[in-house]
Amino acid sequence: MFFKNLSLIKEPLNKNNPITVQILGICSALAVTTKMLSSLVMSISVIVVLSIGSMIISFIRKIIPKQIRIIVQLVIISSLVIIVDQFITAYYYNISKQLSVFVSLIITNCIIMGRFEAFALFNNPWRSFLDGLGNGIGYSIILLIISFIREFLGSGSILGINILGDPINKSLFYSIGYCNNGFMFLPPMALITIGTIIWIQNINKINNNK
């Protein structure tokens, strides 16, 4: 049964990626990808909220009134995000300080509502959980790729660790004139990066079809 449902996890990683194929969650992909650590924290939170949220919505899908289903979904998402935030503030306080900025972003992330509407409302809880998990991981992969590029080119670091040298004291590459690309911190550069990834993905798809 697990292998039968494996496609639910595999497909969102590439073929049906939520950001590059379904074009969902673009806002957070622009906002949180200036630093890899923020992206990592956001990714884990989205995986938790999306997978558990999908399972809950699927459990109650037959009793949700159609007229208020969007509101119900929003209530479930908001509650899960608040619960995650409360636990992290209690037990992982340093991480919660990174997450607090993005709590509201998770609630507005259209990947979550999109998957609830497209999958969780029509499938059983286990399949919905796997779909949430797969889409969460697919979202995370793209987020980490974009944040790696933006942080590396924008500040010469990865996960906060200077790789190209110290830009303040001009060591390593900075001593021979290398400058950080400040444009990388602007949202348009995140869009261009996403566009480039979609372009590469489409080229791969065409080549595979040949």
């Binding site: 949180v32 200036t34 630093k35 923020s38 037959k62 009793i63 949700i64 009134p65 159609k66 007229q67 208020i68 119900v72 209530v75 509650s79 608040i82 619960i83 409360q86 636990f87 503030t89 209690a90 037990y91 306080y93 300080k97 607090s100 900025v101 942080e151 924008g154 500040s155 303040i168 400040g182 911190f185």
Partner: protein, 236 residues
């Protein structure tokens, strides 16, 4: 099996039951976790105050180190009058700042490290997207010793960098008065010709590229918050 989920009575009943369940769940979780969250916030406050006298401590030893180095807390008003002297750790700065300035009671943490006395004051202000806050310490000559800054929701990689050491270290040794003894505070400027802040007497710090508004908020916070304590500092 519920047959008709579209009647008004069902929708209202469903909404009420869902609200009660979600509300109760969130309340129970909040009440049960409040102790741990408050403890974390308190430990963070101890650590930030200690960082202002260059003491870096772990979470587990924060309170013990705080009790060792912070000798007393003085509460003053805007005229510099000492209102009471007690270990009053829990003054709500945000609440005090909302009052009329004549009614505000603000704390000064008096620390002693290696027989040197430091005066640590809290800071609260507005960044680009939300609150910015921290602590700043002065020696008896009213030169900045250390500063700790933090924020609630500034932009990552830009305004959020105000809590990084490369920026905070620029404040060390800075003067808050000009050569004529007039209060200037500390202003964060663009295009400062002194990016490593070697000149401590110009009352200026080089800003962070792309974080102009946050840095403007920091400047305003420093100027306004330190100004409150000037009558007390002048009486030293």
């Amino acid at each position: 099996m519920i047959k008709n989920t579209e009647t008004k009575s069902y929708i209202i009943t469903f909404s009420i039951i869902l609200s009660v369940i979600i509300g109760s769940l969130l309340s129970i979780i909040y009440i049960n976790l409040k102790y741990y969250q408050d403890k974390n916030k308190k430990n963070e406050k101890y650590q930030n105050i200690l960082k202002c006298i260059n003491i870096n401590t772990s979470v587990s030893s924060a309170q013990k180190q705080y009790n060792k180095y912070i000798k007393k807390i003085i509460v003053v008003n805007n005229l510099g009058k000492i209102l009471n002297i007690e270990k009053d750790f829990d003054i709500d700065i945000v609440y005090e700042k909302r009052k009329n300035i004549k009614n505000q009671k603000m704390p000064i943490y008096i620390a002693n490290n290696n027989n040197i006395t430091y005066y640590i004051i809290p800071l609260i202000g507005q960044g680009l997207w939300g609150e910015i806050f921290g602590y700043i310490s002065f020696n008896k000559n009213l030169r900045v010793y250390r500063i700790v800054l933090d924020h609630k929701s500034e932009t990552p990689g830009l305004g959020a960098e105000i809590n990084q050491s490369f920026f905070l270290n620029l404040f060390n040794g800075e003067y808050i008065f000009d050569n004529n003894g007039n209060y200037m505070g500390i202003t964060i400027v663009k295009g400062n010709e002194d990016p490593k802040n070697i000149n401590k007497k110009n009352n200026q710090i080089d800003g962070i590229s792309g974080a102009t508004k946050t840095c403007d908020g920091v400047s305003e916070m420093l100027i306004n918050n330190i100004k409150f304590y000037l009558p007390f500092f002048k009486s030293l």
